[in-house]
Symmetry: C2
Subunit: 339 residues, 2 copies
DNA sequence: TGAGTGAATGACAACGTTGTCATTAGAACG
DNA sequence: CGTTCTAATGACAACGTTGTCATTCACTCA
């Protein structure tokens, strides 16, 4: 790999002159510039990032730490979003997964420090309170899709309350009154917030919500979930006064609702409207009919996380510590107005 | 961030002595070691990776280049596999996506060179022939899930032929004779290979395959696919002599087969057996009943790609340029022996 | 003509490490 | 006691880059 020195030797100029040209410094004679440029391309020179960083102390590498990518496949979008923001400034991303192992995570923080990353995006795969045990990390940290229990770190999270509100309102506006809810694990902050949002929509519409129609679609604790949506939904749909629409905790649950409805001869959306959450395209676009759902803005979250780190931290008041990203409605064909 | 020099000053020894301790060099007096260790932890010393790399020339960073992560969400598993292999040697991963833009891709190759990465895993999201236009990259490159048209780069790819064989054999062994096939886009190498595998299984079983039962489940070209599996399958299942089992090009298609069957009142697996491909857990574990499918070994592919680069390139004969990774059968509840 | 100006270029140090070699101080030996 | 050996430690250079300052040279102006 050629160096400034080599190029300088070939071109018969000093190292510094070559450096100037590489960095677009104005004060170089046009003729010299052209000559050196030629050797630059001939020798296929590429600046050594390590040397630059050592000299300048500044780093253009960011870290992305994640506790468990595996569970939600579309979390890749966080990475893509981060990369989109990084791209503009010619920055790059070093990624690492702790897989939930605290010892491993500590090692990875050290690794990031060793690489002198400019900042770290810490992405947890559930929108939940997350305690980063003193990472002993002096650079900026932004949490993505999770938030610190003590609230001392900026975090970018989906606006679940608004998401739940959006789901309920969409159905209420279309005349549905008896609306079933199949929820995720109740421990999740997301579940709580969405529930609040839904109730807000019901209140606004002046509809009293029948609490007996809210059921848990998942058994077990976080990490060891077992779906029981199919059974639960069948039961709910077999009631004499069955709901005309169902709000689902995510698209996976929606999928099982489809099967439960199908098994009872109910067709979607004619006999039953279904709205999902997450917009896992793999599911939402493949279900038949395609699923109307509220999207988790992973891409946007990743993007904003990096942008937040690149921004001068002028407005980092405590109120701005939690940045809520709206969850947009994606309208497809699984809901129908009640006639 | 503290340096060797600082620690040395605090401990009253030379820089080199501290360096020795950090690197576990044997020739240090136990007493000095203890004293220095203390300052090391107090000052929270972490070696500067850039300086190390510059001094030694060796890099412990690998690159992962990908053309479009978005499409197949489980491609994250390639990353996870790569990281698993990296972990053992305390190496790290710099990732970048070209999103299919050749200009951008060229820039990223330069970026990798700037970082002096030790090697690059190039992951394309379809198992297909991929032409890396002279990346002008002198380090090792391993292709994951794709292969070079001219075959001059080592590549790790799923054994699609065997995968197709596995699908067909599984059903044949269970007594099925009229077996429908819903395929992906025919252009894909994967589609061709799997078809060959299936035919091999039919031949072995002495069953003549009714070509009219092989249908295309996807319309359009790569990148702009539109599913038409639902319609196609309904048609196939409405035939007087309908198949008793269906082999699907992937789990997405399988999902639509479920819906098509349901719409005709056929229940799975009692009236129809279905076998998928990919094992996208989001789908395969959520379908009701859960889907028997053949898994794409993404994790293993990522792992082997990195291992291949870490290995001394002794056995890089041309024959070993393409490494086939078997696709394991994942048995769930969507198939039933024909009685 | 000589001083002053500005543009173009170069010499040198420093960033934090580690490899090479030298130095020191005991210990072991004759 | 002097010599040799070994263990422990340190001085120094170099990796590739860029910031600081110095130098060179052609030119302008009085």
């Amino acid at each position: 790999m050629s160096t400034l020195r080599e190029v300088a030797k070939h071109a018969g100029v000093s190292i510094k002159t070559v450096s100037r040209i590489v960095n677009g410094d104005a004060a170089v004679n046009a003729k010299t510039r052209a000559a050196v440029q030629h050797h630059l391309t001939t020798l296929n020179y590429v600046p050594n990032h390590a040397a630059r960083q050592m000299r300048s102390g500044a780093s253009s590498v960011f870290g992305l730490m994640t506790d468990a990518v595996a569970t939600t496949p579309y979390s890749v979008d966080i990475v893509r979003g981060a990369q989109a923001a990084l791209l503009e400034n010619h920055q790059t991303l070093l990624i690492a997964s702790s897989d939930g192992d605290p010892k491993r995570e500590a090692e990875l923080w050290q690794m990031f420090r060793a690489h002198r990353v400019a900042g770290v995006v810490y992405a947890a795969m559930f929108h939940r309170s997350h305690d980063i045990g003193k990472p002993a990390f002096d650079k900026s940290i932004v949490l993505a899709n999770c938030f610190a229990a003590n609230g001392d770190k900026p975090s970018i999270i989906p606006d679940d309350e608004l998401g739940g509100y959006t789901q309920a309102k969409y159905l209420l506006q279309r005349g549905h009154r008896r609306i079933g809810i199949v929820t995720l694990i109740p421990d999740l902050e997301a579940t709580r917030l969405r529930g609040m949002g839904m109730r807000r929509a019901f209140a606004e519409a002046g509809v009293t919500f029948d609490e007996s129609l809210e059921l848990r679609g998942v058994r077990g604790a976080v990490g060891g979930e077992v779906l029981m949506t199919y059974e639960v939904t069948r039961e709910m749909l077999s009631m004499p006064n069955r709901p005309t629409a169902i709000i689902c905790g995510n698209d996976t649950l929606a999928m099982q609702v489809y099967f439960a409805a199908g098994s009872l001869g109910l067709s979607i959306p004619d006999h039953l409207s279904v709205i999902g959450f997450d917009d896992l395209k793999l599911i939402s676009e493949t279900l038949y009919p395609q699923l109307t759902t509220v999207a988790l803005p992973y891409f946007e979250i990743g993007k904003r996380a990096v942008e937040h780190m690149n921004k001068p931290h002028a407005g980092s008041t405590l109120s701005s510590q939690r940045q809520l990203v709206p969850c947009p409605l994606v309208e497809r064909h699984s809901c129908k107005p009640l006639t």
